[in-house]
């Protein structure tokens, strides 16, 4: 009990840092709650856990049906991340339910879900909440008769060796994963219209999802590369979720085992699992691919102060600094960051130029339209957190004394008016004089 109180005090003291999942320059230890079906997993998957611990994560292992567990207390979340290694749990102990986990993600925290072939409805429902549909058949597993992993016994080809890995340096690190990744478990499908979910590891075109123990009676519901083995979700608030249908992928056994893909003579000493999950873990826990924009500035050319309002046809400069978090803040370098000058539709769309040190800037002319505009930067890139910056700025028309006093084109009219006045004056004088 005392330990808990202490923990709570520590928690309170680090609250300001926790409230932003990432803000301080020197990161505090981040708390991860690991829910297990069986405490044996703690040792059987220790390699994965150790890699997390070595990256200054504080892991709290609990049994999933522990009646003491809870995600939040007094309106504050107690953990930064949650790992669900409890595929068969029917209902959690304590106050955790689907809504609590959804709320946990919606408040910006990260989640890893691993299911297996006896995944409970509960776990499936959490996955569905995140946009991933596990095969509804409870006994189905992913079977692949062409790209299975060669093992001593012939087996039922449910142990897959997949190398359909997404090519993204930001998600999986710059080092290429040479060995195939071993997978044994249930597959899931994604809704193609859901742009928040990304397949990281997908099955080969010859895979299908069915019960390996019985003969295939009906056509399998999901087949081929529509089957996703490992998926990631980045929610709109940048919370990240990793979902896989195989808990055993994380195990020390799979991390250590060698792999040879069927029909391929190369035998790898080690499977790709360890590298795959270490790198993916870094991504999920925001150790990579997290962009931060600071110092959004705009001002008229030649003036440093930011005005409250622009005038039409002003020349302005816009700049923003973008940094990427990967352990430390580093300048983010890209050539595709664009700014919009937006009022219901973009009036100006410019690519920002970078000085390679994180500063992005551009200069443009305010369009000849007045209204309430926004500087908008909408930056969506695979693996990176979404940058969605908008800053409102009104644009006014000319003031009455900002127009030209005399227009050259109107000189004939000035002349006409003046000559008319003079003529009238002379006429009046003559007329009155002659009376």
């Amino acid at each position: 009990m005392r330990g808990k109180a202490e923990l709570f005090l520590i928690f309170i003291s680090v609250l300001p840092f926790l409230s932003l999942s990432f803000s301080a320059e020197s990161p505090k230890e981040r708390r991860v709650l690991v829910l297990l079906d069986d405490l044996a997993i703690k040792s059987s998957h220790s390699l994965f856990f150790d890699s997390l611990k070595s990256r200054r994560f504080l892991l709290h292992f609990r049994l999933a049906d522990d009646p003491e567990i809870s995600l939040r207390r007094y309106g504050q979340h107690l953990y930064d991340a949650l790992i669900l290694f409890c595929p068969s749990v029917q209902r959690f102990g304590g106050s955790i339910d689907v809504a609590a986990i959804a709320d946990f993600v919606d408040s910006g925290h990260d989640l890893i879900i691993a299911a297996d072939n006896n995944a409970s409805d509960f776990i499936r429902e959490i996955a569905t909440e995140c946009g991933v549909d596990f095969d509804e058949d409870p006994v189905a597993m992913v079977i692949d008769h062409t790209s299975y992993a060669v093992s001593d016994t012939e087996g039922d080809h449910t142990l897959l060796a997949s190398d359909n890995i997404i090519e993204s340096d930001v998600i999986l690190g710059s080092k290429k994963i040479e060995a195939p990744v071993l997978f044994k478990g249930i597959g899931h499908s994604l809704n193609p219209s859901n742009n928040l979910v990304v397949k990281v590891l997908s099955a080969s075109p010859s895979a299908y999802s069915a019960n390996p123990k019985s003969k295939l009676a009906n056509p399998p519901t999901i087949t081929g590369s529509a089957i996703s083995l490992v998926s990631i979700v980045q929610a709109r608030n940048n919370a990240r979720v990793l979902i896989t249908g195989s808990l055993i992928m994380f195990s020390n056994r799979f991390f250590r085992s060698g792999v040879q893909k069927a029909g391929n003579s190369t035998k790898h000493e080690r499977s790709g699992n360890e590298q795959f999950f270490t790198e993916l873990g870094k991504w999920v826990f925001h150790e990579r691919g997290h962009l931060k924009a600071v110092n959004i500035r705009h001002h008229k050319v030649g003036v440093t102060d930011e005005p409250a309002m622009y005038r039409i046809s002003d020349d302005l400069e816009y700049s923003v600094e973008i940094y990427e978090w990967s352990g430390t803040s580093e300048p983010y370098v890209a050539d595709d960051v664009q700014v919009q000058f937006y009022m219901m539709s973009p009036y100006v769309l410019k690519t920002l130029s970078t000085n390679q040190k994180g500063l992005y800037s551009t200069a443009f002319k305010v369009p000849d339209v007045y209204g309430v505009f926004q500087f908008k930067v909408e930056y969506h890139r695979l693996g990176y957190t979404t940058l969605s910056l908008s800053k409102q700025i009104p644009v006014r028309p000319y003031r009455h004394n900002e127009y030209e006093r005399f227009i050259p084109a109107a000189y004939p009219y000035y002349g006409a008016a003046l000559s008319m006045m003079a003529g009238f004056f002379i006429f009046t004088a003559v007329h009155l004089h002659n009376k």
């Binding site: 689907v98 919606d106 996955a127 809704n191 309002m309 009022m343 219901m344 007045y370 009104p394």
Partner: protein, 780 residues
């Protein structure tokens, strides 16, 4: 027309007495006009009323804070988001500048009044001015007696009170004064032929242009009158002096007002004045030539000029027609067109038709707004024809046109009211005149007594009589001045005119004494009835500020202060840059009272933008959410009267949202909302109606109030009682549910997979979610 012979001695003393008396009467009329409009302050409080006055108040605040140049160049980014509105260039600045000047004057005299106080009392002050202007105008037409009567009538005419009670800080408050004063100066110029008054007239017209879009009434009525004078052979140099400088100076000055600008020479509303300007010059030229040529030469000249002139005219008219026809609305603004063709707005411009004050009035509203004046006006018109002068023909023309306009739009009843007062003033004063004189004539020995009996009515009419005689004489002398040729004719005419007048006076004088006394009593009774009605109207009907409502029931007075409650909530609980969407009626109030950005407001300049909001309100929740989200809207405000029976709520305005929305976005079809030709919200309502945003936001959780969801405005139980909102959260509902504020939900953080939820768990999660929203709700 001269007074009785007994009165002949000491006329100077009586004039002095009369003018002192009329001065004090006028002073009292002014005080009366001011004080009758204070009911709203006494019964409620010193607040700005209704909708438009809030905008004017906000503009005045800006003016007093930032000065006139910033006001002129004010670009307001808090309305019509994201378009913004150039306030300086789209507002009639007269009222604002007037109140701002009053405030500045008072402050420089170390009288520290708040801007709001000045704004509240601007309208009563100007109604006193308007009463005085009426006196001046009627005096020019029919003498001081008629003037005083007309001023007294105008001081309390309900139609004008409805627009000028304390707190009703709207353009009309000063514009009616400006209107009457401009007319006065026109008549004054017409009577005197003085260029000085003509200049003043142009300046008064400028003030009117600054104040109100109704200035087009002046710039059409005066040309009509000038044309009438020309056609009826009453052209004189006085008419030229009254008319030509007004058009030239007035148009130049009008073009200085930013909101009018080049409209002063570009739109059809102003063409009549230019046309008459040309005609009057032709007539003047003809007149001049006629005077300097022999009759034979003149005939030759006429044929020459007429043939050439016709050709030129034809060319000019052809060009004009081509220019005008090239614009789709023939160069008229929508509002003017709906005046000329009363069915125009309801056919083509729902946004104009949707405003209740743009509807044609009902008969009872005439009796409500001008009461007994409606009966006196015909008598006044008859009096104006005895004899018909330039001035009296003008007021006849004024009343005829304003009766027509008031029949097209309720709002223009306001223009009718001064005309009706002038006419009734003339009628009453003439009637008094006739009756008292007939009494006097039949009791020659008791003339002094009769004067006492009749009170100041008779004395003032005597004064009036003398004044009238004086002006008549002056007119005679003036009329001598014009060209030699006209002189004879005019003299003949005068003889003809005078003869019937004299005979009439004699004929009237034989009225029996009893009949005269009874008639006098009846007139006084009529006047008393009018006064009672006016005071009642001022106290009961027109003093409600409409942001605070009251109702009397068996257990006492109920005050509904929901609007201010809601706006205060907005200003305290939302971010300063948040955008609030509501139907446009509440735009001005939201910006002025809550200081939040609105999408549309009562300045209905952009039909598409209003249609967008109307479409959102008539769409299902998801589509509405998308529309609002694209406009960066954070909160949606609806006004709902179903709980307390407040009839002008958004459900009753809903048909306009559908019509205006459907006019721009054809996927909104009115028949989808109609059952049996009606917008029904009961069990017979169409599915489209039951699923539209306005229905949902109005009736969300309504069933929790009484268990039956009985709508007290529509007097029915609503069609769909239990429903959830999927894209909006209720954040605030006022005490009487009159204003309900909803917040747009942020876009879903996650996108759910397609697998359907297991039944049991699904229901448990939704119920817990509902519990969550209910906890956030301040209501339970």
């Amino acid at each position: 027309m001269a007074g009785p012979p007994e009165q002949a001695p000491a006329p100077g003393l009586r004039y002095a007495f009369g003018s002192v008396l009329s001065f004090f009467i006028l002073l009292l009329i002014g005080v009366f006009a001011f004080s009758i409009r204070l009911f709203s302050v006494i019964k409620y409080e010193s607040v700005i009323h209704e909708f438009d006055p809030y905008f004017n108040y906000r503009v005045t605040q800006f003016l007093t804070k930032n000065g006139i140049y910033d006001f002129w160049n004010w670009f307001d980014d808090r309305t019509w988001y994201p378009l913004g509105r150039v306030i300086g260039g789209t507002v009639y600045p007269g009222l604002t500048l007037t109140a701002g000047t009053i405030w500045w004057l008072l402050n420089s005299l170390n009288i520290p009044l708040s801007v709001e106080t000045v704004c509240v009392f601007t309208a009563p002050i100007f109604s006193a001015f308007a009463a005085w202007a009426t006196y001046l105008l009627t005096k020019e037409v029919k003498g001081a007696g008629a003037g005083l009567t007309a001023a007294a009538l105008l001081a309390m005419v309900p139609s004008y009170i409805s627009r000028s009670v304390a707190g009703s800080y709207d353009n009309e408050a000063v514009a009616i004064f400006a209107l009457i004063f401009t007319f006065y100066l026109y008549i004054k110029t017409l009577n005197t032929g003085s260029l000085f008054y003509a200049t003043l007239n142009a300046i008064a017209y400028f003030y009117m242009v600054c104040s109100w879009g109704g200035y087009t009434f002046i710039i059409n009525l005066i040309p009509m009158h000038a044309l009438l004078c020309i056609v009826t052979g009453r052209y004189s140099s006085r008419l030229y002096v009254a008319y030509a400088p007004l058009v030239v100076l007035g148009t130049l000055l009008a073009a200085l007002v930013p909101v009018v600008g080049f409209n002063a020479v570009m739109t059809s509303e102003h063409f009549a004045s230019f046309l008459v300007f040309i005609i009057i010059h032709v007539v003047a030229l003809v007149d001049y030539i006629k005077g300097s040529l022999s009759p034979k030469m003149f005939k030759v000249a006429v044929t020459l000029v007429v043939s050439v002139g016709l050709a030129v005219c034809f060319a000019v008219v052809a060009v004009l027609v081509a220019l005008v026809a090239s614009s789709p609305t023939m160069g008229w603004s929508g509002r003017s067109l709906s005046l000329l063709d009363p069915t125009y707005a309801s056919k083509y411009i729902p946004i104009i038709a949707s405003v209740s004050e743009h509807q044609p009035p009902t008969w009872p509203s005439y009796f409500m707004d001008i009461n007994v004046l409606a009966f006196l006006v015909p008598a006044g018109i008859i009096a104006c024809f005895l004899p018909l002068s330039d001035a009296s023909s003008f007021v006849v023309l004024y009343i005829v046109t304003s009766v027509y306009f008031s029949g097209v739009m309720v709002r223009l009843m306001l223009v009718l009211a001064p005309a009706a007062c002038i006419m009734s003033g003339i009628a009453l004063s003439e009637a008094f005149d006739v009756f008292t004189r007939s009494i006097k004539f039949q009791l020659p020995g008791l003339s002094g007594n009769s004067e006492v009996n009749a009170g100041d009515g008779s004395s003032s009419t005597v004064v009036a009589q003398n004044d009238a005689a004086k002006t008549d004489k002056r007119e005679d002398t003036l009329k001598d001045r014009p060209s030699r040729k006209n002189k004879k004719k005019e003299k003949e005419k005068e003889h003809v005119e005078k003869a019937p007048v004299k005979s009439k006076v004699k004929r009237l004088l034989v009225l029996p004494l009893e009949a005269s006394v009874v008639a006098l009593l009846l007139i006084v009774l009529l006047g008393a009835f009018y006064v009672v009605h006016c005071v009642w109207a001022a106290a009961e009907a027109y003093s409600a500020p409409s942001i605070v409502l009251t109702s009397h029931s068996h257990d006492g007075l109920h005050v509904f202060d929901d609007f201010r409650e809601a706006y205060a909530w907005l200003s305290h609980n939302t971010d300063v840059d948040d955008k609030v969407a509501s139907w446009w009626d509440y735009g001005y109030q939201t910006t002025a009272m809550a200081n939040r950005t609105v999408i549309v407001d009562n300045n209905t300049w952009n039909n598409t933008h209003i249609a967008t909001v109307g479409t959102a309100m008539s769409s299902p929740e998801k589509a509405a959410w998308e529309i609002f989200n694209s406009l960066d809207v954070k909160y949606v405000l609806v006004v709902f009267g179903g709980l307390v029976g407040y009839p002008s709520d958004d459900i009753n305005k809903f048909l306009w949202m559908v019509r205006i929305g459907g006019g721009v976005f054809p996927h909104i079809k009115e028949p989808d909302y109609l059952r049996d030709g009606q917008y029904r919200i009961d069990s017979q309502a169409t599915p489209t109606m039951l699923n539209c945003l306005m229905y949902k936001l109005s009736y969300y959780r309504f069933v929790e109030t009484d268990g039956k969801a009985f709508d007290r405005v529509r007097r029915t139980e609503i069609g769909k009682k239990y429903f959830k909102l999927t894209h909006f959260d209720e954040v605030f509902t006022t005490h009487h549910w009159m204003v309900r504020i909803y917040k747009l939900r942020p876009p879903k953080n996650r996108i759910r997979g397609k697998t359907k939820k297991p039944k049991s768990k699904g229901s448990s999660t939704t119920s817990s979610k509902r519990g969550g929203t209910r906890k956030k709700n301040p209501w339970h």
